[in-house]
């Protein structure tokens, strides 16, 4: 019997496709958001609240991941924005290959912002890089304040965390401060927005921040930089 060293990351195949996706996105100067949350936290509602504010100014598109239906995709198309549905069947997350296949039928030329709405799940999507520029996690106050502690990997890897349904604080008896503290403890570097997609409270800051991100990507693309170049120059 022989022992042979392998030392290969188990998710290597996914990471390689994600790197290809990322190169493609960088070449187009497209900002790509991987939007993740538990089912019902408000991913599609956030898109419905965000897209109308940006679509006059930027070219946007959405890729929707869902186990069974294309209901969310219909909601996005109703806003007048192209939307492509990936139906995963029983798979509980999107992976880089699914996104690469979707891109073959869903051209992203001249897109400023592509939002990929992942399958509602706080566990598996955390492990699968799609090639995104930003990982955005939504957690609703109605879910209680412990979610970041129960699913620390998901929250730890987020760039932005949106705390949604803040209007339900009195009705749910949950305190926004407790939820914010828990996000901070698992991810001190995350940028946190407290919002209500229903009342619109807090969305202004989130949308202003997205505008900054898009402008910065456009600047980098204009200068012909890719993120790897920026890193090596730093």
């Amino acid at each position: 019997m022989d022992r042979v060293l392998v030392q290969t990351n188990v998710l290597k195949a996914n990471q390689e496709v994600a790197a290809e996706n990322r190169r493609l996105f960088a070449g187009e100067g497209t900002v790509v958001i991987n939007l993740m949350s538990a089912p019902g936290a408000g991913k599609t509602s956030l898109l419905e609240a965000t897209i109308p504010a940006l679509k006059g100014q930027y070219n946007l598109a959405v890729i929707e991941g869902d186990l069974q239906t294309d209901l969310d995709s219909q909601r996005i198309r109703a806003l007048g924005v192209p939307s492509h549905q990936i139906t995963t069947g029983t798979v509980c997350h999107l992976d880089a290959r699914m996104v690469a296949r979707a891109l073959a039928e869903f051209p992203i030329q001249k897109l400023d912002l592509l939002i990929i709405e992942n399958v509602g799940n706080l566990i598996c999507p955390a492990s699968y890089d799609l090639g995104e520029s930003l990982r955005v996690v939504i957690c609703s106050l109605a879910e209680g304040p412990e979610k970041p502690k129960k699913y620390p990997v998901m929250f730890h890897k987020a760039d932005f965390v949106l705390l949604n349904k803040t209007d339900l604080s009195p009705a749910s008896g949950h305190d926004l401060k407790d939820l914010m503290t828990n996000v901070w403890e698992v991810n001190p570097r995350a940028v946190v927005f407290a919002v209500s997609c229903k009342t619109g409270v807090g969305l202004e800051d989130w949308i202003a921040c997205l505008r900054e991100v898009i402008a910065s990507a456009a600047w980098q693309s204009h200068r012909g930089y890719e993120s790897s170049n920026l890193c090596s120059q730093a």
Partner: protein
């Protein structure tokens, strides 16, 4: 429950290496699994039992080495192992802690029977 597809990835990596070494029989697959990942050891062990059928790893044993989560403060240098409710703020400095280990997830080695031995 993504452990099935993860078990398949592990087997694909092991099979590719075994073929490279001209072996058609994998006996052991050793992996390192960090505590700060989304993979549950027991679920992975169960998934492996199913995923290995009709592969070169059909008779292989999956050995899992758990890697503890370790964090370090970049300011004061204190090292600790967060337990249960993860808190990544240094209790002394109040600044973010960096994760030193616990995010590992790799196939470390395989043990194979090479063709010559079987003849």
């Amino acid at each position: 429950m993504h452990e099935i597809s993860i078990a398949q990835s592990i087997i694909e990596i092991a099979e590719a290496k075994a073929r490279q070494e001209n072996s058609r029989c994998i006996q052991v697959i050793k992996i390192r699994l960090g505590e700060f990942t989304t993979v549950v050891r027991e679920a992975l062990e169960f998934a492996f039992e199913v995923a290995r059928l009709e592969t070169l790893a059909e008779n292989a044993r999956l050995e899992i080495e758990s890697v503890a989560m370790t964090v370090r403060c970049v300011i004061c240098g204190s090292v600790s192992n967060p337990v249960r409710a993860v808190c990544l703020i240094c209790p002394q400095c109040g600044l973010p802690l960096e994760v030193v280990s616990g995010e590992e997830f790799q196939v470390e080695y395989i043990e194979i029977q090479i063709e010559a031995e079987r003849v």
